[in-house]
Amino acid sequence: MADIATHEPDHAVDHGHHSSTGLSNNKLAMWLFLGSECLLFGGLISTYMLYRGRVQNGPHPSQIYDIPFTSVSSFVLLMSSLSMVLAVSSAQRKDDSKTNLWLMITALLGATFIGGQVYEFTTFYREGLGFTTSLFSSSFYSLTGFHGVHVSLGVVMLLSLRGIIKKGKITGDKAEVVELIGLYWHFVDIVWIIIFTLVYLIPS
């Protein structure tokens, strides 16, 4: 009994806090959070699908979408998922320098995607598509804007994580912390996979 009491805290520190299922509580919480995020983006996507034809006097989606530009943005975000998974892989090999490098690359790719979105929003606004121009514009900006906020938060998390790793301030399982941020990052990528197809490639 005494042995168990002595060993349990060590196990928790080395591999994160575990539940009675033997699984990490942190990972369970993250997957539950991502499951709930499906409901958030489901609402935004379905609202867009419903209103995408309601353009009133504003420009029509086919008049303003720049598919080659958005395709490049999509490719950038897709490649950021690769760099993120390589960061997780490096963290699990306890290779801090490579982990930092891949985290930095992921953050840069994410920032590039956000830069592209800011450029796209600015262009659309100049072409007469404001937030309140039509039901289409409101639902479009809400959906892609919420996604952009998620990516921006992801970039902040990646840069913070990089700083924390460099200062050696992570007390538990470092690889698990990187993996948790990675799960969030991949989630914003899969949401974009859906947005890219349903919003940009399928005409209204």
Binding site: L32, L39, S46, M79, L82, V85, T197
Partner: protein
């Protein structure tokens, strides 16, 4: 270049090596290129089903391999796919209420 030790650790932790992740990324990039090609090439009646299938394939590949659901506990898959399934059900019902699926 990966050593035997690295490969062993990769397989132990993720079920895939770094080279495996790169292969998955190349496949995802090719599918994206194919998706974009539907904007320029007329696929006729296959346009919509092809796009939706490619979207689902990309989604499943990222979730299974990059997010490790294929190699992780089934509990994580249950939590995520329950949320996803609930979202699809709720919002398809919502769209059906507004007669979205009626041409």
């Amino acid at each position: 270049m990966t050593t035997d030790t690295e490969t062993h650790e990769d397989l132990h932790e993720h079920g895939m090596s770094d080279a495996g992740y790169i292969k998955i990324a190349v496949i995802l990039a090719l599918i994206t290129a194919l998706e974009v090609s539907t904007y320029y090439v007329d696929f006729g009646p296959l346009f919509m089903p092809a796009l939706l299938i490619m979207m689902v394939v990309k989604f499943v590949m990222v979730v299974s391999y990059f997010m490790h659901l294929k190699f992780d506990s089934k509990m994580f898959s249950f939590l995520f796919y329950t949320g996803l399934g609930l979202a699809i059900f709720v919002y398809c019902t919502f769209l059906a209420t507004f007669k979205f699926f009626i041409a």
